[in-house]
Point group: C2
Chain length 277, copies 2
């Protein structure tokens, strides 16, 4: 999906919500959980149907599918195919955090963009240029580079200062912009510390940010928008557990829809305040 | 597999060779390539049978399987199962370079250790402690943390110096040792610059190193051993393309066996020189 289409979808829906499709059988109705990969497919389809009106993107995290082996990968593929067929205006992000040497990275890029047909893949920067650029050569496809993550461990390396005082996550954001542009590269910027989102925004004024950590991980939507938005919105805010596992009963899809609508309403209010819609 | 068993296997075979199972259909006999995932399984089994006498470890890179979707994951699983059943003394490394927040990292660890049954998983350090430690809690299983990779892009971030002059890959090696020990953590240390392997060895005297980059990527076995070995050998040297695609004809397995034997002979000579066998 092209950047202009993504921005138009956000503005027409009044939403920059990304729904994380990280289905945890332990939090699903027992009858569905017992069905393994088929249960996950059924669960995802119901959640997607209930939330698509309020979201502009879906982000399946591959770990939740790989844990079921080949059957899980089928669930991932069928989930992506279902979204593409029924909701073609949704942006699909494979949250895979891949990063490998050039020829291997090309295999991953082909697997996700050509076979699974997703719009974007999250990519880890540690291995540098040739691990990222293979994801940039597909028309309308995106690399989403990890910059500042929302977990506790983000302190361990991302905050290290180099000999000029620049933090490592800032080095990543500066260096990666030599490889990609605002039409094929986004950054993962965690929601847990608002002022840091502002630091990334100053370094990358036009790139979209994928912002995890709102909801279950404690980030505030207001703060994310204050520090992270640009004049084309420029953020996709992800919520996973807070939406898809809002209920572990048979009303899981209805409750997911309610949670997604609540977030959409908050997002629309923010966009209206800023006269963007 | 426990560390003592791995060291014993190395000494009894006179080999610290890891065979990278990264099957590229374009370099396989056409009749096999045409069979998709089944062709890859057949190819891998023949390569394993031909090389097992000379190797102590196998390292399938997940990208080469994921590129075939669910079918490819089946090929990965069947390959691992074949090794476990027929060559139970082989150490299996899933080269997946995973790294995600704690609860997600746990899913990956379970998928690889419990479902696929591998001994080790390569892990990217960028997200810090909670992305690595979930791989450390399984008896006889290992996290192989990326420290210094063998690709050109390794220059981009791994060589950055912090405000005390310590390079980033050194920070990773120091920090990671606060989480893991020499019995559950190895490091990936690329072969392309020998003296850098020595730098890592000084920081991590007892950990095993998984050394890619010998062969197709240009690293020298002699140099790797001079800088990387410790008194328990302490290195697994990987070769992928140089072995499994030594021939693209019907003699691929025989040629893979020949290449593996050549490397084993060189390794055994080095171990004998050092009076380790």
């Amino acid at each position: 999906m092209k950047r202009t289409d993504l921005v138009n979808n956000i503005l027409s829906k009044g939403s920059f919500l990304c729904v994380g499709l990280d289905p945890d059988p332990a939090k699903m109705p027992a009858a569905l959980a017992a069905k393994g990969a088929d249960g996950i497919i059924e669960f995802n389809k119901a959640v997607i149907d209930a939330t698509a009106a309020y979201a502009v993107a879906y982000k399946p995290n591959l770990a939740f599918y790989e844990t079921l082996g080949a059957d899980g990968m089928r669930a991932f593929e069928e989930t992506c195919a279902y979204i593409r067929s029924n909701y073609p205006d949704q942006f699909i992000i494979a949250d895979a955090k891949r990063g490998d040497i050039g020829n291997t990275a090309r295999m991953y890029a082909k697997a996700f963009f050509e076979n699974a047909g997703v719009d974007a893949v999250t990519v880890a920067p540690y291995m540098g240029e040739d691990s990222v650029t293979p994801f940039l050569g597909f028309d309308g496809k995106w690399a989403v580079v990890l910059a500042l993550t929302s977990n506790k461990g983000s302190e361990d390396f991302q905050m290290i200062r180099d000999d000029r005082g620049t933090r490592f996550f800032e080095r990543v954001v500066l260096q990666a912009q030599k490889w990609g542009t605002p039409v094929n590269m986004m950054f993962v910027v965690g929601a847990t510390r608002g002022e840091l989102i502002g630091d990334v925004r100053r370094l990358a004024p036009r790139n979209f940010f994928l912002v995890p950590g709102v909801g279950a991980q404690g980030g505030s939507l207001e703060e994310v928008c204050r520090y992270g938005m640009n004049d084309e919105v420029g953020i996709l805010v992800n919520s996973s557990r807070g939406i898809i596992h809002a209920s572990n009963g048979d009303d899981y899809a209805e409750m997911a829809g309610n949670k997604a609508r609540e977030l959409r309403d908050q997002m629309a209010a923010i966009l209206r305040e800023r006269s963007m819609i």
